[in-house]
Symmetry: C2
Subunit: 345 residues, 2 copies
Amino acid sequence: MQQSSERCKIIVDAMGGDYAPENAVIGAVEAANENSGFDLFLVGIEKDITKVLKEKKLKFDTSRIINAPEVIEMGDSPTDAIKKKPNASIVIGSKYVKEKKAHAFVSAGNTGAMMAASTLIMGRLKNVGRPTIGAEIPNVHGTCHLFDVGAGKDAKPVHLFEYAVMGSIYAKELRNIPNPKVGILSMGEEESKGNEVTTAAFRLLKESKLNFVGNVEGRDILTGNVDVVVCDGFIGNILLKFGESVPKLLKHLLKQTADKNLIDKIKIGLFKSTLKRALKSLDYQEHGGVPLLGVNGISIIGHGSSTPKAIKNMVFRAYDMYKKDLNNKIENSLTDYLNIVDPNK
Amino acid sequence: MQQSSERCKIIVDAMGGDYAPENAVIGAVEAANENSGFDLFLVGIEKDITKVLKEKKLKFDTSRIINAPEVIEMGDSPTDAIKKKPNASIVIGSKYVKEKKAHAFVSAGNTGAMMAASTLIMGRLKNVGRPTIGAEIPNVHGTCHLFDVGAGKDAKPVHLFEYAVMGSIYAKELRNIPNPKVGILSMGEEESKGNEVTTAAFRLLKESKLNFVGNVEGRDILTGNVDVVVCDGFIGNILLKFGESVPKLLKHLLKQTADKNLIDKIKIGLFKSTLKRALKSLDYQEHGGVPLLGVNGISIIGHGSSTPKAIKNMVFRAYDMYKKDLNNKIENSLTDYLNIVDPNK
């Protein structure tokens, strides 16, 4: 939907997440209370939503509840579920955006179903072959925006190119990085160190007006000063899940050390809260969901275990994307690049 | 070289690594002093080697120095270097193995040149399409053996199959894991969650006699109880370098926290040595190099910053591979599997 003078409308999936509807409803209402710039709607099983509103004594205009009697569970097969449960919150929320009744849909529900519903129902933006999901990973110099982390797999060179364009616009508009440095994730810095797909993507990106810094390596995600890193979603997804498991290994190694030596045990006990504070920036709850870029509407996907705070941040992110007119900027940029990615050129 | 009653001969590259020839010579001589089961040779610039032996007062039979007047530097382009410097230690060491004058070659030099020399000069074992390098990553349940971490890229399904066979034999023979669990690194556990290559490899592995547990995710490397994980070298390399950079980010986050709060600063100061002990198992120096599996000989490749201890461990690993007759076992297993991987089947 083209940005207009129209008031922004954001729908939150009340049934999305491991602690739904409670966390989703609380977070959504808090977002609406904190910022009056947009109209907020809740989609889900009406009686469950009103129950939470009542129990938590939350003020909310019940005419803004969109009833969706079915629920896509976390374990449901994504594409099957959106076909078999046409009255599920994820399907109805996406349809509202498709039909221009709302600008954004926010859900901490089944990630695969959210991606499928957003892509299939909202459709893709003009010139986007593959929508993409990014992760914001804190590093030594600030934040690395990694695209794609699992919206697609078996990406073609042109898809990596699109990720770079969309990721750069996102980093610039939503994260205020003036001229984001973009790199391709590879086995070495030299152009020749890529695989077949990244080497071809390298050639495309060299011709673009993006601030392309060439290939970057695995270590540059956490230590390099590159703002946007693009890779196949298969790799990004593996990397992200690997990274999320690091604190668990750290905890295990500390426990092993504590068990060997009493002084270490005492030190580790004292240190726990400090370590927790240090690792806080790695916590996705602080960031609050990720946008699926490239679909024709605003789609924000949250982690299943999203807290009310995470849900609130997801709503604010959706509103920010609306205000910055992100989707129009993506379409326009990709139109500018048609001559580069044209295979007949 | 087929294992025989012949005495094992191991060549160490004296010129390999950032602290060559010192670390390499010291580590090699220590290995020979600790274990008399094999004959040790040093290859490199003779006068540089004898200088270290003299300075460090090391006893070594100088008739076991193989003179190699050229040196492949860390920054040299691998395939160019092995062509343009035929008298470099890496080339000569590999030739000795090729010509059956030695069983194993160990180097902490230019990794790419070592891989190229081992593959091109020693050649591949029968039925091996792609040699592979593995990493041993400590996890909550023990160790995950990740193959491939960069010997190849754009792997075909049959290559992932070979990695699984070679990795299983390695984990069983060298790490005493009776029936290693093998998984394919993927985006989800279901068979459908793979990409084109892993889905085809899944079908091959299902038919094998390996203890195949299906797809595993990024988090399973550090937290799962899977012994061998196979992936394209492009992914493995990115993952390994990402993992190696985690301690650097941790240090950065701790510093940030310390700068904010004096008590945290004191706690972090007290805790430093404990953390270092806890992270010790992540230190590749403790492990000492990785074998390039699938080449016709024993090739052990070490990190550029290898200490004498790491070099020593690399020599012991080479000897262990010889004693366990690893290469014959790999060839025999792959012969057994010819009917599975035959594309005409």
